[in-house]
């Protein structure tokens, strides 16, 4: 799966512009005036989002605002209360085989005795009925292709060293890489990742973010990623959907993560600061220090 040339690390401008929403059919994910109700309560409404092919989109917002719910709506697990949702040109839930999904922090049981490589394989053929004939590898072209593909994605996420260990014995970050490999193994057109950087330390956050950015750029996979901290993925971002209790805003990051937009969303003064190294810091937000917008550092700079 491609050596990624160094140029790919420098961002190309987003291919799709924010205009042309009405054409339809082309967007990989499109939400129009979408609203969702969970447990009799409207979580968010009036959400517009258009994700084009090969775009990297972040879904941001405070805890409990409905970010994971949005991913589930796109997957077709939860229905919308209003508006229209199209995924890969179909109704949600119809294109599951073309989507790679990484749920929010799965607590892998430490005693689970399944190897990482087996979990990756499930992403490839885990939904097939029947068992394959136990032919020797050299007689089955299909099994050879499967083996090579699995080795390829494991290599891509840099998990070769521990892929044959039981998943329960891998660290949180190692598990996350293997689960990303599982989501990738069938060459999806759309990756839906729910807080993949959760529980990773800073350097690994950067590593996994760069990996996802490369996959997005080099293979033209659209990535929709729920994130708690926008900074590790900022270099790769084409689009941001910011959910807050007062509403939602979508657009390029430099337009959405601004003092003005976030203050309007929260209905309270919020300040977006840019640190010397380019990191964004969100301060305030009317939710105390904790709910200040999900951008991590709310107080002083590091």
């Amino acid at each position: 799966m491609a050596r990624i040339p160094e140029v790919a690390r420098h961002r190309v401008p987003p291919q799709a512009t924010t205009t042309g929403h009405r054409e339809g059919g082309e967007g990989v994910v499109s939400l129009r005036r979408a609203a969702v109700r969970v447990g009799g309560r409207t979580l968010w409404s009036g959400v517009d989002l258009e994700v084009g092919a090969g775009e990297f989109t972040a879904v941001l917002g405070p805890n409990g605002v409905g970010k994971s719910t949005l991913i589930k709506v796109v997957l077709g697990i939860l229905p919308t209360a209003a508006g229209e949702v199209r995924v890969l040109g179909e109704a949600p839930g119809r294109a599951g085989h073309r989507i790679g999904y990484l749920p929010q922090r799965r607590n892998v049981d430490p005693s689970l005795r399944i190897r990482g490589i087996d979990v990756v394989r499930m992403g490839l053929d885990g939904d097939r009925w029947g068992v394959p004939l136990p032919l020797p590898l050299r007689f089955s072209a299909r099994r050879r292709a499967a083996r090579d593909r699995i080795a390829e994605v494991i290599e891509l996420v840099g998990a070769s060293a521990y892929a044959r260990r039981p998943l329960g014995e891998c660290s949180g970050g190692q598990q996350q890489r293997l689960l990303i490999a599982q989501a990738l193994v069938r060459g999806p057109e759309l990756l839906l990742l729910d807080e993949p950087l959760d529980s990773l330390d800073l350097s690994h956050q950067g590593g996994v973010a760069a990996l996802l950015g490369r996959i997005c750029r080099a293979e033209g996979v659209s990535v929709v990623m729920v994130a708690h901290d926008v900074n590790p993925i900022l270099p790769w971002l084409d689009r941001v959907l910011y959910l807050a209790e007062g509403g939602a805003a979508a657009g390029p990051p430099q337009q959405v993560i601004t003092t003005r937009t976030l203050s309007r969303l929260y209905g309270a003064p919020v300040e977006v600061l840019r640190a010397g190294d380019g990191r964004l810091v969100v301060v305030g937000g009317g939710h105390g220090t904790e709910g200040g917008g999900g951008h991590g550092h709310h107080h002083e700079l590091d």
Partner: protein
């Protein structure tokens, strides 16, 4: 020597020549049937048990096993073959457990409480049936703790047919079931019918426990359903190898249990359970030892490195 004399009067003597021993044992049709039935059950329980341990549904399996007791008691009361009672009650209870809505993952508190209720009610019914059928008490021991005597050729045929059907079903759903067991959220998105598979697996588990309890008795089903599978999961994390190890351990434990029971006055359930426990403890120790050694090796390398 002298103390064993009384036993040798009634029980065959182990000659230390396996060929003669096996030949002597298999001269009796009931022993041949016992070996056939035990083999069928060991294979079935080894495979189904591996999935059960992986899915952490041992408690459900335990409940289904207990329910085979009222099943057999009810069948005896009605004057029909106990086999029918075993299967009817186990599969029925599997459907009841499957109907319990899953709050979250398997093993949630709510599910455990409801499953336990089914278990207690099943046992209570068993005692009621025993009370209604007077003079039945003699058979209770073998119902609860197993017996290898009196297994008929018909019974073996029924067991083999049920096992073949169960394993064929499992082969069809093997991969999606593995996916749904390890990673239900992602499996559901990939179009795997997680809920249907969960019901289907409980029914297969019901048939497997019904079959197993005819050999080990309802209280010792776990000897063949859990212990070989748990041993396999100690020894390997590969699904295919694990299934094979689970079956092999089950076969070894059943055969040695049958031989021991034949040459001694003690019940088969005790031997099968003890051997299975022994193998499990051994595997567990082996794994701990392997881990200690693996941790030691780099540590000692570092130490010697710094000493130089």
């Amino acid at each position: 020597m002298v103390t064993t004399m009384s036993l040798t009067d009634t029980y065959p003597v182990w000659s230390w020549n396996p060929v003669t021993d096996l030949r002597a044992m298999w001269a009796f049709p009931f022993m041949v049937n016992a070996f056939r039935a035990g083999t069928v059950v060991a294979v079935l329980a080894g495979v189904i048990g591996w999935y059960m341990v992986l899915r952490r549904q041992s408690f459900a399996g335990h409940t289904l096993a207990q329910v085979s007791f009222p099943g057999a008691a009810c069948a005896t009361l009605l004057g029909i073959a106990p086999v029918v009672g075993y299967f009817a009650f186990c599969v029925g209870a599997a459907l009841v457990i499957a109907a319990i809505p899953r709050a979250g993952q398997s093993g949630s508190g709510q599910e455990a409480a409801l499953t336990g209720t089914v278990q207690a009610f099943g046992l209570a019914c068993g005692f009621l049936f025993v009370a209604l059928y007077k003079g039945f008490l003699g058979g209770i021991n073998s119902l609860l703790f197993g017996s290898f005597l009196g297994i008929t050729a018909t019974q073996v045929t029924v067991l083999a047919a049920v096992a073949a059907a169960t394993l064929a079903m499992l082969a069809v759903i093997a991969r999606p079931l593995l996916f749904a067991s390890v990673d239900p959220d992602v499996a559901a998105v990939r179009g795997v019918p997680v809920r249907v598979l969960s019901v289907a697996f409980l029914v297969l588990l019901g048939t497997a426990t019904a079959a197993t309890s005819q050999i080990t008795g309802t209280l010792l089903v776990f000897a063949l359903l859990v212990m070989p599978a748990a041993t396999a999961q100690q020894l390997t994390a590969r699904p295919a190898v694990g299934l094979a190890v689970s079956v092999l351990v089950g076969l070894a434990v059943t055969w040695t249990g049958l031989i021991a029971a034949y040459y001694s006055p003690y019940p088969i359930g005790f031997f099968v359970t003890t051997f299975a426990l022994g193998v499990y403890v051994f595997a567990r120790l082996a794994r701990v030892l392997a881990q200690v050694l693996a941790r030691r090796a780099p540590a000692s390398a570092r130490l010697s490195g710094s000493a130089v």
